[in-house]
């Protein structure tokens, strides 16, 4: 069983970047100065990810105002809507409003990704909204059904994956908190499966990951196992470890083992214990260890401390008593 470690969502902005972006809003800083600060922070996150030996780097997605903003601002048919609570957190996103069936503009997603200078495509973990969560969280005034939208987002995002794959990107992670917070059933579940049937092959030999968080994945696993992806991530803060069913053969599993809702650092030994127990019940092809949700719910130092748990747990698993 291969063990991989990765940052699975946005990393918090540093205190200097917080100050810079506030100054920008108050007219006390130039866009150029703030951009320079973003670039510096991005390099710092990559340096941290590299120092910890994570198997992919992200740059922390520091510029993204929320998971959907590049799409809401860059694709036709959208406007940026009201401030809306981001699941069960004290953070918010601006709900995209979709006024017409969505269309994709090539290059929008690529240009929103962390710079290739800091995050080389071959090392990158590209983090995108999953089609089910995207379709479910927007304010749909397009006239399309949610099922049709889910399916359509799968096809549109697949085009982005193809574009990025051609540019050398290899790992594509789709954020699907809504899949476990408000799981689909019936035609909506089938539309979700269909959406991933578009997405999976688009990666063309690359790795596709669905990362769920903020909800109990236990009851949703039969559906998660049907998604045409290589790895499914499960939030251990919400899902009882004993309820995790090993994935089908040739599939990997992700353990969201860092809880971004508390600064209390996890015990690497406990994480390793859960991973070992999972192996006893099945043998996933790959085990991915990552945060259970977005680490930008924490201040920078606490997030960095938590990230150290990933290589520590991996080390335990790789040791003489390990499972690999």
């Amino acid at each position: 069983m291969e063990i991989r470690t990765v940052l699975t969502g946005p990393f918090p902005r540093s205190e200097p970047l917080v100050a810079a972006t506030r100054d920008l809003d108050r007219g006390r800083a130039t866009a150029e100065a703030v951009e320079a600060r973003f670039a510096e922070d991005e390099r710092s996150v990559v340096a941290l990810e590299s120092r910890l030996g994570l198997d992919a780097v992200t740059g922390g997605y520091l510029r993204w105002a929320d998971l959907f903003r590049p799409f809401a601002e860059g694709w036709p048919g959208f406007t940026v809507g009201p401030v809306t609570r981001w699941f069960q957190t004290n953070t918010f996103f601006r709900q995209p409003i979709l006024h017409a069936p969505p269309e994709r503009i090539a290059g929008v997603v690529r240009s929103a990704l962390p710079s290739t200078a800091a995050v080389p495509p071959e090392r990158a973990n590209v983090i995108l909204p999953g089609p089910f969560t995207f379709a479910g969280l927007l304010d749909n005034r397009s006239g399309e059904t949610r099922e049709a939208l889910t399916h359509r987002f799968g096809r549109l995002l697949a085009e982005d994956v193809r574009e990025l794959r051609a540019a050398g990107y290899q790992r594509f992670q789709f954020q699907e908190p809504l899949l476990v917070v408000d799981p689909p059933t019936g035609p909506l579940a089938e539309a979700t499966v269909a959406a991933y049937q578009s997405l999976g092959p688009a990666a063309d030999g690359g790795t596709t990951i669905v990362w769920t968080y903020f909800g109990d994945a236990g009851p949703v696993q039969p559906l998660l196992h049907r998604l045409a992806v290589d790895v499914v991530g499960i939030d251990l803060a919400e899902t009882e470890p004993e309820a995790i069913v090993p994935p089908p053969e040739r599939r990997g599993i992700g353990l969201g083992c860092l809880d971004p809702r508390t600064t209390l650092a996890e015990d690497a030994g406990e994480v390793a214990r859960i991973a070992k127990s999972l192996r006893k019940r099945g043998n996933p092809k790959e085990l991915w260890l990552g945060p259970g949700g977005p680490l930008d719910l924490l201040p920078t130092d606490a997030a960095a401390r938590k990230l150290h748990v990933l290589p520590a747990a991996k080390q335990i698993l790789l040791g003489p008593e390990g499972v690999s």
């Binding site: 609570r85 069960q88 953070t91 918010f92 601006r94 251990l236 809702r261 209390l264 930008d296 201040p299």
Partner: protein, 379 residues
């Protein structure tokens, strides 16, 4: 004699004027700050600019007013601002507070402040970790209430951040750390209940008791985090009860930007709450469906007052008085009893300029007047 329908009330903080921010830092006022001061003083009459201290302050002499006197003046300004706008229940715009979380937490032992966390876009707040047993240094908000009581023409209504919100906006290290094994859902919930009730009993309740001793009669418990974890609505209610039970005041609970439906019916167990002051305008459309959630009160037979959010605090576009009136009419129709409705902005207007906030408050008051006239005409 019955009270007029749809009285208007404050709901939270206002932006601090530039002259207050400069003055508190001991910096001389610049031309914009002086202009702002004079312009608002012409409109809401909160100070005598001919007094020697104020003349020095307005002429840009540093420390012509001590920072504490500037804060007093800021509080008086906000008070007169609300009164001049026509609100029946008023406060000082939280002129002395940093914001609603950090200030109360800094009055308690057992917390350690960490860095900033992003709320949305480029908006952030500082967040503390609970690292030990909670102990209150001394009851807070008492001095500011004394000042308001002394100067208010309207009815003082004091906002206090609630125990659930203080807990939810903090990192729970101490109580969670006492749980054994993997810190999954069950452990988190157990630790959260303990944390909320301890804050309520050890910090909020003594503060409320002190405020009531000083004559405070209308208290708004702010629980913006109440909707964050719908499965913890019972803990919100438990914290509210632990903080308020047996205390003699009119208590309301303010919640905003939440899926209210998910809080029913557990939240209704907050027995000492007389008014639900919630945000609605942010989610409203031309069909007025932002107010449909009020049907839940009917469904569960809850007949308490509603503090109705009728203007959106996140947008500069000022609602027309007619739109506000229409929102009130819709709410009254759903609730079936217009006498249960107070009107207010969705939430504090701190993120709007004083000019925009003023126009929005005026729209609240004028919209209430229009709706009131309609109901009176209809008998």
């Amino acid at each position: 004699m019955t009270s007029p329908l749809f009285p208007a009330q404050e709901i939270g903080s206002l932006a601090k004027p530039r002259w207050q921010l400069l003055g508190q830092r001991g910096e001389p006022l610049d031309a914009a700050a002086v202009q702002e001061f004079r312009s608002w003083n012409d409109r809401v009459k909160f100070a005598d600019p001919a007094s020697p201290e104020l003349r020095g302050f307005l002429e840009g002499r540093p420390r012509a007013l001590e920072p504490s006197a500037v804060r007093d003046l800021g509080a008086l300004f906000a008070l007169r601002y609300m009164e001049a706008a026509g609100l029946a229940r008023v406060y000082d715009g939280e002129a002395r507070r940093i914001e609603m979380y950090e200030y109360p937490v800094r009055q308690m032992h057992g917390f350690q402040f960490l860095g900033h966390v992003r709320s949305f876009d480029n908006k952030y707040y500082r967040k503390a970790a609970n690292t030990g047993e909670i102990r209150l240094d001394r009851p807070y908000h008492v001095d500011e209430f004394d000042f308001v009581r002394e100067h208010a023409a309207g009815i003082p209504k004091l906002p206090v951040t609630g125990p659930y919100t203080l807990a939810d906006w903090s990192y729970n290290e101490y109580y969670l750390g006492r749980e054994t094994g993997w810190k999954g859902r069950a452990a988190r919930r157990h630790a959260q209940r303990e944390f909320v009730v301890e804050i309520a009993k050890r910090a909020i309740r003594p503060t409320l008791a002190a405020l009531i001793d000083h004559g405070c009669r209308v208290i708004q418990i702010d629980e913006p985090a109440a909707g964050t974890h719908p499965d913890e609505a019972d803990i919100v209610a438990e914290g509210f009860n632990a903080a308020t039970e047996g205390l003699d005041a009119t208590f309301s609970m303010h919640i905003c930007f939440s899926d209210y439906r998910s809080l029913f019916p557990a939240l209704l167990e907050a027995k000492n709450c007389q008014q639900w002051a919630w945000e609605f305008a942010n989610r409203d459309t031309e069909d007025r469906d932002g107010y449909e959630v009020l049907r839940m009160f009917q469904e569960y037979g809850d007949t308490r007052e509603v503090g109705l959010g009728v203007v959106d605090v996140h947008r500069n576009e000022v609602e027309s008085a007619e739109k506000v009136a229409d929102r009130i009419r819709r709410a009254a129709k759903i609730l079936g009893d217009p006498a249960r409705i107070w009107v207010n902005p969705d939430c504090g207007l701190r993120t709007r300029s004083l000019d925009v906030a003023w126009q929005k408050l005026r729209a609240v008051v004028e919209g209430a007047r229009i709706a009131r006239a309609d109901f009176e005409r209809a008998g």
